[in-house]
């Protein structure tokens, strides 16, 4: 299967076309085609994973490449490069996608575009898988853009409501802004690597120092711009909370577990480039780490003031993505990838759980929830498990991955990032406690009759709870071998990232911080201790709250500040140019042609040509009038002509013989 990994993206692509083509005929059964496709991809991914693990210690990546066409030195083709990272991503993407597919049969039941939804999910899965197995940056770019398109399609699934299509456009445009950087970065690195798109080659050349540092840095920075857009890093994170306008299964699949991690995956894949460009091993604070750190904090702060459960989870996702990016920035490659792995499970679990809640109370807002522990037991314990995993409590998944990030930051010599990570962990635990309190404790504040979700929705929750709980053990020191299976190697240089030993004191410290986060939040909400009501008395806190509620006024900056000031004058100038200059030229041509036509008509056609034609007629008429006078009708005249001619003839006869 490692050799034939190209099958894994192909099957969902075929089911996409199949559902579109056969949709009319098979109707709702198209759903099973989609599920079947993803399920078979999942099985194949598991087979690939088992094979990869079975390769043993000296495992090497398996590559296959098919050249599409060649232009001089540049070669364009498709291929698969299967190593530990790719196998991990294959399993994660297909598993979460399968859970979302099954969940959607319940959640999207009776939807206006039920089967089309599954076609879009299949297309997304196929695109993400193609991105993940890519062996060259061009293929990665194509997969990247395709998942962006699918995100747009799926966020705007209920596009009849204006807010949804606006959110879809915002998502697309914001990621597109980042994609400018991505495209430029891919091009820069293409030329820097001697007109070669290959990823392995690029990493090798970067580490070996064959690319000039300035070019490498420019390429890496440009690529990172794309990462900022796709993985919702500050300041391009604004689209992710708005993307919650899409259906919840979409949020779970795309905006929690898979698409948004495409940026993190890009950095992880091309880590050789980033490592060399930003000199990560030297321990200097670099762009990647800074942006990641900022994102962790600002998103976690925003999660505190949200009423919409999905927005809380969205900001939580942004914050966790910040963790992953920060981890990559400090050189903790395995930690970042492992956090990606675990985060996919518990975040998808949380989102699907929130979907279950939304389905039950018919509202996204936590102000209309409350006291849902009794009516919805499965949702309750899976959501709680996911929250605890996210908060990073031993022995659940989040603890191990988050701790490894902090460990990597500390060992790499980035104390600032360690501090940021700790504060972020505290805030994460706190806002999740707030969310759980608002949802499950107290009295029900809504108007409906909440009940547990149907099995099609409940079973994915239960199944996802398993990896959310135990996946962390895969990288636990002494127990798991994740670090061996998924390692970053550069051809010729081996492993460039260090593996740091488990640091028990740091782990205990982070656990303590997470528990204190839960404790403080529990105190505030459950026991009504001091900070509650403090806002009413303090203008500074009120101002802070206002800033948070307005999302740091970033949206206003983007829309009014940047877009409007550029768009309106530009539009007016373009309009003026079009009306006066371009239309002026076109009209001038028209007027000149008309005038020329008139001249030709009056002078040439009427006077000259008609003159000739009329003249011919006139002369014939005049000639006829003149010659007519010989026809007198008088016989004697004719006889005179006759005799005259005869006389002349006789004279000629006489004189010339």
């Amino acid at each position: 299967m490692l050799e034939n990994a190209w099958l894994i993206p192909l099957i969902p692509a075929l089911t996409f076309w199949g559902i579109l083509a056969l949709g009319g005929r098979i109707g709702h059964q198209g759903v099973w085609l989609g599920i079947g496709g993803v399920a078979s991809s999942f099985v194949l991914s598991l087979v690939a994973a088992v094979e990869w693990i079975g390769l043993g210690e000296g495992r090497e990546a398996v590559s296959r490449h098919l050249t599409w066409w060649q232009l001089g030195e540049a070669e364009i083709g498709v291929g698969t490069h299967i190593d530990g990272l790719a196998v991990m991503m294959l399993v994660v993407v297909t598993f979460v996608s399968l859970m979302v597919h099954v969940y959607s049969t319940g959640y999207m039941h009776g939807d206006r575009r039920y089967v089309y939804f599954f076609a879009a999910l299949s297309l997304f899965t196929a695109s993400m898988l193609m991105l993940v197995v890519a062996d060259n940056t061009l293929q990665l770019l194509i997969g990247w853009e395709l998942v962006g398109l699918c995100s747009f399609m799926l966020i705007g699934h209920w596009w009849e409501e204006g807010a949804n299509s606006s959110a879809a456009i915002k998502a697309f445009i914001t990621t597109r802004t980042g994609d400018v950087g991505l495209l430029l970065g891919v091009t820069t690195l293409f030329f820097a690597a001697g007109q070669n798109f290959g990823i392995e080659n690029l990493n090798r050349m970067a580490i070996a120092g064959e690319i000039r540092h300035g070019v490498l840095l420019a390429g890496a920075a440009l690529l990172f711009l794309g990462v900022m857009g796709k993985s919702a890093q500050f300041p391009l994170h604004v689209w992710l909370p708005d993307a919650m306008a899409g259906p919840t299964p979409v949020s779970a699949l795309i905006h929690a577990a898979t698409m948004v991690v495409a940026g993190v995956y890009l950095v992880a894949r091309l880590f050789g480039v980033f490592f060399a460009a930003f000199s990560i091993d030297a321990g200097g604070v670099n762009l990647v780490a800074i942006i990641g750190a900022i994102t962790v904090l600002i998103a976690a702060a925003l999660a505190f003031v949200q009423d919409d459960i999905k927005k809380v989870l969205a900001y939580s996702t942004v914050s966790q993505l910040g963790y992953m990016v920060m981890a990559l920035g400090v050189g903790a490659w395995t930690a970042a990838v492992f956090h990606l792995f675990t985060h996919a499970f518990f975040k998808a679990l949380l989102f699907l759980g929130s979907g279950s809640l939304i389905h039950a109370v018919h509202s996204n807002n936590m102000s209309e929830m409350g006291g849902l522990r009794k009516p919805m037991p499965t949702t309750y314990w899976t959501f709680m498990l996911g929250s605890v995993a996210l908060a990073g409590i031993f022995p659940l998944a989040g603890f191990w991955s988050k701790d490894e990030i902090l460990n990597g930051a500390l060992a790499g010599g980035f104390p600032l990032m360690v501090a940021v990570g700790m504060v972020g962990a505290f805030m994460t635990a706190a806002y999740m406690t707030r969310a759980c309190y608002l949802i499950f404790a107290g009295e029900y504040r809504g108007h409906g009759h909440p009940h547990e979700s149907p099995p099609s929705m409940a079973w994915p929750l239960r199944i996802l709870a398993v990896p959310a709980a135990v996946a962390g053990l895969l990288n636990a020191p002494g127990i798991g071998k994740f670090g061996e299976w998924v390692a970053f190697e550069v051809a010729g240089a081996g492993e460039i990232v260090e593996h740091h030993a488990f640091n028990p004191s740091l782990a205990l410290l982070s656990l303590a911080i997470a528990l204190s986060g839960i404790g403080v939040a529990a105190g505030v909400y459950f026991r009504n201790t001091w900070p509650r009501g403090a806002m009413a008395g303090s203008p500074a806190l009120q101002l802070g709250h206002k800033v948070l509620v307005n999302k740091y006024y970033l949206d206003n900056l983007y829309i009014d500040g940047i877009i409007r000031t550029i768009q309106y004058p530009l539009a007016k100038a373009a309009y003026w140019f079009n009306q006066k200059v371009i239309d002026g030229v076109v009209n001038a041509f028209g007027i000149a042609a008309r005038a020329a036509g008139n001249v030709v008509y009056e002078q040439v056609d009427q006077k000259v040509i008609d003159g000739i034609v009329n003249g011919a007629g006139l002369s014939a008429e005049e000639g006829g009038a003149i010659l007519r006078r010989t026809q007198t009708g008088r016989v004697q005249q004719y006889a005179a002509y006759l005799f005259g001619a005869a006389a002349l003839g006789a004279a000629a006869l006489v004189y010339f013989t």
């Binding site: 010989t630 026809q631 009708g633 008088r634 016989v635 004697q636 006889a639």
Partner: protein, 99 residues
């Protein structure tokens, strides 16, 4: 020996006839002038016959006389019809073919 005189007479008569054909308004006079022309031709023929001692000239003149007689008959018939239709035989008035 006397040939030139006969030919001269013939020519004079012929020219008189031509003048009459061209210049007379009366249709009957035109016919008479045609007869004159024909008789002039007869004199010519007979003169040349006498010159060569051949009877052919006289024979030809006999033919001409016969033809002239027939022609005058037809011509007069036409003139008569013109007179019946127009009450005039002025040839200047017969210009129906005027273009």
């Amino acid at each position: 020996m006397l040939l030139n005189q006969f030919l001269l007479l013939s020519a004079v008569l012929f020219c008189l006839g031509v003048y009459g054909v061209l210049a007379r308004k009366n249709a009957v006079l035109v016919l008479m002038s045609i007869e004159l022309m024909l008789n002039a031709v007869n004199i010519n023929l007979v003169a040349f016959g006498a010159l060569h001692d051949a009877v052919a000239g006289q024979v030809f003149a006999l033919f001409v006389i016969t033809i002239a007689a027939a022609e005058v008959g037809v011509g007069l018939a036409i003139v008569l019809l013109i007179f019946r239709n127009r009450a005039s035989i002025d040839l200047d008035e017969v210009d129906l073919m005027k273009g």
